[in-house]
């Protein structure tokens, strides 16, 4: 009987309820859009920021004999920690060397690193040719575009590197354009750099790319510091904090907008329900006279508000997902993937908003049947 009466209630007030559904659907569309953007766009933007390189750097202790270098085993140790936020770990050993190609020669900074990790960490670098394959490749190198220009090199040609009395001739696999100091550097395999420098297993720094907000990155730094006593673990503040601030601002804006929309939706539902409450006064008075308890009668109206929320919520979700994809592409230039969690989240918010907006119907519980039957 409950469902039968509920259906009759909904059908009888369909035009007035359609307004409430429209209000909820509009609110749900905006909420679904913003929640989906919050979940997907900020995640993708975080990843986009990550392609800008490392945001944590580890160096040796400031005082002591090995102040300038640290044991490269620390990089392996970090990989073994398998921290979920850590995307890439690349040790760098920097040497001030000379490079020769044919008749050309120039002083260059040679960076010994793990090619696979360096490529992942700097995926935004433009590469003419290919990345060197293999972490320990001793026959190939990557060269910055300015260094390549000075030496007149193109991919496939050889370059000879001299450091102290050591020498190595390598094939240029690719020319890098980074737009920064890396354009003047030559990248070789870490073991080869260590061999040229005669530094055993040492490295200058370890660079790390970690995902997450500024707070999460601080947390990663704390865990790394605890795992690597004696080493300095520092954020690359400028970038990490700017990223964090931007993401926090975007989230704050989305959250504030969702709150505002929820309040406006609630007011829209309230306006539609106020008229309905007046129409229903007589029915409620009669139902009470027939022995209907306030709780039982209110269940009809609360179920009605929930039905409005679900109908509006589902319509709004469909529109919102489309809208978030469009905004993602137009505003954030990222492709947005619909998240299924947005549906229950939107529906839950809309049920809350509808129940809040159904306040006039809840006030019907106070109707005195004798007043209604007297014709007041």
């Amino acid at each position: 009987m409950f469902w039968r009466i509920l259906w009759r209630l909904l059908y009888a007030s369909r035009s007035r309820l359609a307004l409430a559904v429209l209000a909820v659907a509009s609110g749900a569309a905006v909420c679904a859009t913003l929640i989906n953007l919050d979940l997907d766009a900020t995640d993708k933007l975080t990843r986009e920021f990550r392609v800008l390189g490392a945001n944590v750097v580890i160096s040796g202790a400031q005082n002591g004999d090995d102040a300038a270098t640290l044991d490269a085993a620390a990089a392996q140790q970090i990989e073994d920690l398998r921290l979920p936020e850590v995307v890439s770990v690349a040790p760098y050993l920097y040497l001030s060397a000379e490079a020769h190609a044919g008749a050309n020669s120039t002083a260059v900074i040679v960076a010994g690193t793990w090619f696979d990790e360096a490529a992942r960490m700097n995926s935004w670098w433009k590469v003419d040719g290919n990345w060197v394959s293999g972490r320990d490749n001793r026959s190939d190198c990557m060269i910055g575009e300015q260094a390549a220009s000075r030496l007149g090199l193109i991919p496939g040609q050889n370059v000879t590197i001299r450091y102290a009395k050591q020498e190595a001739t390598l094939r240029v696999a690719g020319i890098i354009t980074a737009g920064s100091s890396e354009d003047s550097q030559i990248f070789i395999a870490l073991p080869l750099a260590q061999e040229l420098a005669g530094l055993g297993q040492r490295t200058s720094v370890i660079q790390i790319t970690a995902n997450g907000s500024a707070r999460q990155i601080e947390d990663v730094i704390g865990r790394l510091s605890a795992a690597l006593p004696g080493l300095q673990v520092r954020p690359l503040h400028q970038l990490a904090q700017a990223e964090g601030r931007l993401l926090e601002h975007i989230r704050g804006l989305l959250f504030g907008t969702v709150l505002l929309i929820l309040v406006l939706t609630s007011l829209g539902v309230l306006a539609a329900m106020a008229g309905l409450a007046l129409e229903r006064r007589r029915d409620v008075g009669l139902m009470k006279a027939l022995g209907g308890s306030v709780r039982r009668i209110m269940r009809f109206f609360l179920a009605e508000a929930t039905a409005i929320a679900l109908a509006g919520g589902i319509c709004g979700f469909v529109v919102g997902i489309g809208l978030s994809e469009w905004i993602g592409e137009r505003v954030f230039a990222v492709s947005i993937t619909p998240r299924l969690i947005v549906l229950p989240a939107t529906l839950a918010l809309m049920v809350l908003v509808s129940l809040a907006g159904a306040l006039p119907l809840r006030l019907l519980g106070r109707v005195r049947p004798s007043d209604i039957l007297r014709g007041e």
Partner: protein, 223 residues
Amino acid sequence: MMAALVQVEEISKTYGGLRALDGVTFDVRAGEWIAIMGPSGSGKTTLINILGGLDRPTSGRAIVDGVNVGTLGERELTRYRAEKIGFVFQGFYLVPYLSAVENVMLAQYFHSTADEAEAAEALVRVGLGDRLEHLPSQLSGGEQQRVALARALINHPKLILADEPTGNLDEANEQIVLDLLRELHRSGHTILLVTHSPEIGRMADRRIELAHGRLMHIVANVT
């Protein structure tokens, strides 16, 4: 002598400064048909409302089937109305978006469980077997009042309270409703009926006449 189903003892009701009922006392035996008469503003509807648990007396006691209605809490009053009282109003008061049979089932639902077959049978008994699925707006006044009668009877109430049930009906429909009330009385139902009509008043076992909230006469009709 049958025990009194309704005992009204020194009932008074005031609304602000207005005294709607003033020390009214009478008894109603089970199975009796009582007509409550009097001019407008004499307190007839107030009396019915107090007996039906829709209003509370300012002083005095209204005991129905052993229950002092004035002392019941909100929840107990709700159960009291569902279980002991069958209301018939002058304005029919059907739920406009429910069909005839659903209007009857609504009273069942608030009492215990809705039973469509039983509700339909109640409508057949008042001559509306072919109007089960009609909405109130598709029924004549007389038919709507018959639905209200079926609804009032569906939970087998101890007391039927009818407030001018024929007030909005034409002569033909008035006769149909009165015939039904007569039949109910014959089958042992206790009826308190508010009316302005002396003719209807004479159909009852006794007439209680009110004026300015006071009980003026209790007249036994000779049959």
